[in-house]
């Protein structure tokens, strides 16, 4: 079916009605159903899908490394014309050694913790027949090609001694070392900082040209795919539902699932209060549960009798495009799943007392003689009902700040945290019950934040008891009100976390945080463990709760889309210093601090426009030995001269309170590049 759109005569990868099933308690569950696609020579193909769509199974099946319960139940997978499904053990090993390479999510786990980088690299060459010395030499050369500045030193290092970005470069270097025809990347940037993600994507893009490898890029990150790939396939419930050139597909989807997914994204110009994000109703079906009709029909706003009875064919819908939808021309009319009443956003009252004021906050760790300034003189204010977005790479001090607010660590003497104008005792055990319930947190990973052995009723009920001091019938009533507020129903009361979806678990976590009517909720990467469609629902929920209850959020996120959507104010941290702070629009539109500018330019967008990315050289310096002068000068692309190395610039604010810590005059600072402001709908 794909033959007409195959870009090259002999594709490097061809899936021919590939089906994979897992056996669960003796029953075969189809995870992939007749997936056909081709990746041409030198082409980058993006496979998009949410968790459970089967996208990672494609990668595992291709290399025959499915878990023991999985098996290829039909079809073929051809790599360089060879059918992988029928290779014997020796041929399979040859294929893995020479033809295909793979990069997984989480480089820290993909590297053997007890072998040096050099040894792990050299293995790749040794298996291709290099002598030990030759293998070592070629390994070092390879490291230089993935832009490692001191390869010899890195060769002798163990994985844990390298940063996440460096580790992922190692994995990419190992993958490319054999000059593979096909490079499979499975969520290669998930879990990495935005700047590192950008760096890794750039590297892959460069190396792709350099090595001429074809790429199969598997991700749930639509922006990353749009930036890197020529063509895209959208996978839903184990079926390829749409395929086409990346830019055209994202600009004008021809399947209602793709359309729905794109509407869930908090894109530039979208803000809470203006319009809620759209969501995809319902949940993905269990594998094999939909026996007839379109797999997406139960969740599709356009579905009719025909959709529910007849499985649509994968039909051509334009130049190089195909869609498994009966109504590919109507997807733009897909009704919104969430009604769009603009939330009443209360007018800002600058005279009000801030919910939170840091005047200032510092935290110094003493690590055996050396001092690490995790936070240094951070002064911030946050008004009732507003969100402060906290942005910065790992090690910038975001978590330290959150922990200090929660009283989990004592800030340095002289620090002051004011809650509603009153000084908050630094440590949680010296805070009153009211003060404790006023500051709550929603964690990144609801799986580890919720006790697995307790029911939802107990999880929320306990929080109600502890924080609101209610018991008996009053407690039960409050639990129900909270569940209602987070759009869960009584049905979920007896459920345990494992019986809930990721989004539902996060709703329970939100309900728990709201049990005592908090004034300030710290949201620490609240959606980064969730799929796009679930993320939009949680973001909407947070926005609604905020409008209803005038609660303030301190939002920590590496996803600029999320920060942009929820934040009224944005603060940028680097090595524990506040580099920039101001109203969200001011910070996003500029003028920017050079660091903010780089962060903004690193954010991928689904338009596929990668703009001019500002590359930051080197790694975040160690907090043990921070640079003198402006802490950012070692990586700053706009460094003006010796003054940057010796003198720390002041945090200079304009009339609107938009403060920037830079020696450059304001008019010379950069302005919005990656995130051109979109006119807000009237």
């Amino acid at each position: 079916m794909n033959a007409h759109m195959s870009p090259a005569a002999s594709p490097v990868l061809r899936l021919d009605e590939l089906s994979v099933s897992y056996s669960v308690r003796g029953r075969a569950m189809p995870v992939l159903t007749k997936v056909s696609l081709e990746v041409g020579r030198g082409e980058a193909y993006g496979l998009v899908g949410e968790s459970g769509s089967g996208k990672s199974t494609v990668a595992l099946a291709l290399q025959r490394v499915l878990p023991p319960s999985g098996r290829i139940s039909g079809g073929r997978a051809l790599i360089e014309g060879q059918d992988v499904t029928s290779l014997d053990r020796a041929a399979l090993r040859r294929m893995r050694a020479k033809t295909v390479a793979m990069v997984f999510q989480d480089p820290g786990r993909a590297l053997n913790p007890s072998l040096t980088i050099g040894r792990q690299m050299a293995e790749v060459f040794a298996i291709l027949g290099s002598s030990a010395r030759e293998a070592a030499e070629r390994s070092e050369a390879m490291l230089a090609r993935v832009r490692i500045s001191s390869p010899a030193r890195v060769m002798g290092a163990y994985p844990h001694q390298l940063s996440g970005g460096m580790q992922q470069r190692m994995v990419i270097a190992m993958a490319l070392a054999k000059s593979p025809s096909l490079l499979i990347l499975d969520e290669p940037t998930t879990g990495l900082d935005a700047t590192i993600e950008a760096e890794v994507l750039d590297l892959v893009d460069d190396l792709r040209r350099e090595f001429g490898a074809s790429i199969l890029f598997i991700s749930h990150n639509l922006g990353a795919i749009a930036g890197l790939c020529d063509r895209v396939g959208v996978l839903y419930a184990g079926r390829l539902v749409e395929e086409g050139p990346a830019r055209a597909l994202f600009a004008e989807p021809r399947h209602s699932y793709t359309e729905g997914l794109l509407r869930c994204l908090p894109r530039a110009g979208m803000r809470k209060g203006v319009a809620p994000l759209d969501a995809i109703p319902g949940f993905p079906p269990a594998p094999g549960s939909i026996k007839q009709g379109c797999v997406f029909a139960p969740r599709c706003g356009l579905s009719d009798e025909r959709c529910r009875t007849i499985d649509p064919p994968f039909a051509v819908v334009g130049e190089g495009r195909a869609s498994r939808c009966h109504y590919p021309d109507r997807v733009a009319d897909l009704p919104r799943a969430t009604p769009a009443p603009a939330l009443a956003v209360p007018a800002r009252d600058d005279a009000a007392v801030p919910v939170l004021a840091l005047e200032p906050l510092s935290k110094t760790y003493d690590t055996g003689g050396a001092k690490v300034h995790a936070l240094r003189d951070v002064s911030l204010t946050l008004m009732p009902g507003e969100t402060l977005g906290l942005v910065g790479e790992s090690g910038s001090g975001k978590s330290t700040l959150a922990h200090a607010l929660l009283g989990l660590l004592a800030p340095d003497p002289g620090s002051r945290i004011l809650l509603d104008g009153k000084a908050l005792p630094p440590e949680v055990r010296s805070r009153s019950a009211d003060e404790i319930k006023a500051v709550q947190i929603v964690f990144q990973n609801p799986d580890s934040a919720l006790n697995r052995s307790q029911s939802v009723r107990r999880l929320v009920g306990r929080a109600v008891k502890r924080l609101a001091g209610l018991s008996g019938a009053a407690r039960e009533a409050q639990v129900r009100r909270l569940l209602d507020a987070v759009r869960l129903t009584e049905r979920q009361l007896p459920a345990r976390p494992r019986q809930l979806s990721g989004g539902m678990k996060q709703r329970v976590a939100v309900a728990r945080a709201f049990a005592g009517s908090p004034r300030l909720v710290v949201c620490d990467e609240p959606t980064s463990a969730l799929d796009v469609s679930v993320q939009s629902a949680i973001l909407n929920l947070l926005a609604e709760l905020q409008a209803e209850r005038q609660v303030s959020y301190l939002l920590i996120s590496h996803d600029l889309g999320v920060v942009r959507y929820l934040s009224d104010k944005i603060a940028v941290l680097y090595l524990g210093r506040l580099m920039e702070v101001g109203r969200a629009t001011d910070v996003l539109d500029g003028p920017h601090h050079p660091y903010t500018e780089a962060l903004l330019s690193a954010a991928p967008s689904v338009s596929g426009e990668r703009g001019t990315r500002i590359r930051l050289e080197g790694q975040v310096p160690s907090g043990l030995n921070p640079p003198t002068g402006c802490v950012f000068h070692t990586r700053c692309p706009r460094r003006i001269g010796p003054i940057c190395d010796t003198e720390e610039p002041p945090l200079a604010a304009d009339d609107a309170g938009h403060a920037i810590r830079c020696h450059l005059p304001r008019e010379q600072l950069g302005r919005a590049l990656a995130t051109a402001p979109v006119a807000e709908p009237a």
Binding site: N112, S114, E123, I127, Y158, H160
Partner: protein, 321 residues
Amino acid sequence: MPHALGRFLAKRLGLSLLTLWLLSVVVFLGTQVLPGDPARAILGPLADPRAVAALNEQLGADRPPVEIYLSWVGGLLTGDMGQSYAYRSPVAPFIEAALVNSLKLAGMVFLIVVPIGIGAGVLAALHAGRPVDRAISVAGLSLTVIPEFVSSIALILVFAVILRWLPLSATWPPGAGPLTQMQHLLLPALPLVIVLFGYIARMTRAGTVEALSADYTRTAILKGLPWRTVLSRHVLRNALLPTITVIAAQMGYALGGLVVVESLFRYQGIGSLVLGAARAKDFAMLQAGVLVIGGFFVVTTLAADLATAMLDPRLRTGGRR
């Protein structure tokens, strides 16, 4: 951070010393203070009060407890373990001879159980969920719960009495060579092998299963490495780390667990020495014996920590921060 390892070891060493000190206090309280009157405990309730007083003076038990403790610990630190009441001679040579014997027996145990336990564990992990795995797991578990005295008697009956393959006595004739010694030690070693086998096999299996499903193992497979290389270089290297710790820690346990076996086989080890001392109310011997067993336990635990630290580069070289 090269001193990460040093700091780690210094901390463990400190904890070990603390453990030893606490042990000495407990032993002292148990043997000197709780009986109240050592001489009365030795001589019995019907003894003449004058004889009791005389013995107490001879034992030094009429001094304040703190003084007794200090002089005892002081003696230990200078190598003087005190005088045995039962043998009327210094304790140290007895302890030393018994310790050497016990170490020989323990060595024999580990010579047998380590390769078998690790081998079975790896085999089980490679066939996880299949009959081989289940057989090994069930065998390991059921063997672990058999008390040493039960398995000892069964083994004696089968191998020494019925089959007559192995000598009944663990004590070899004077001047016997290492091979003869090992032959005599085989039978007493087996009951402990049986107890430890399941433990080591289970630890190995768990570590190997985890390493087999680890991402780095998948990376190794996808490099196209031969299975044997994947297994030895990537899987086992990481899988056996926790097992090594367990084995080292079990050494200490084995020494304490020898009491039953040694007395059953009439073997002059530290276990039977302590048991005999307790029966004879030979407090000086008892104190020294218990402390030596405890000290050995602490040393093996420390060795286990050291082994882990040396084998795990994350501990050896320290983190980035």
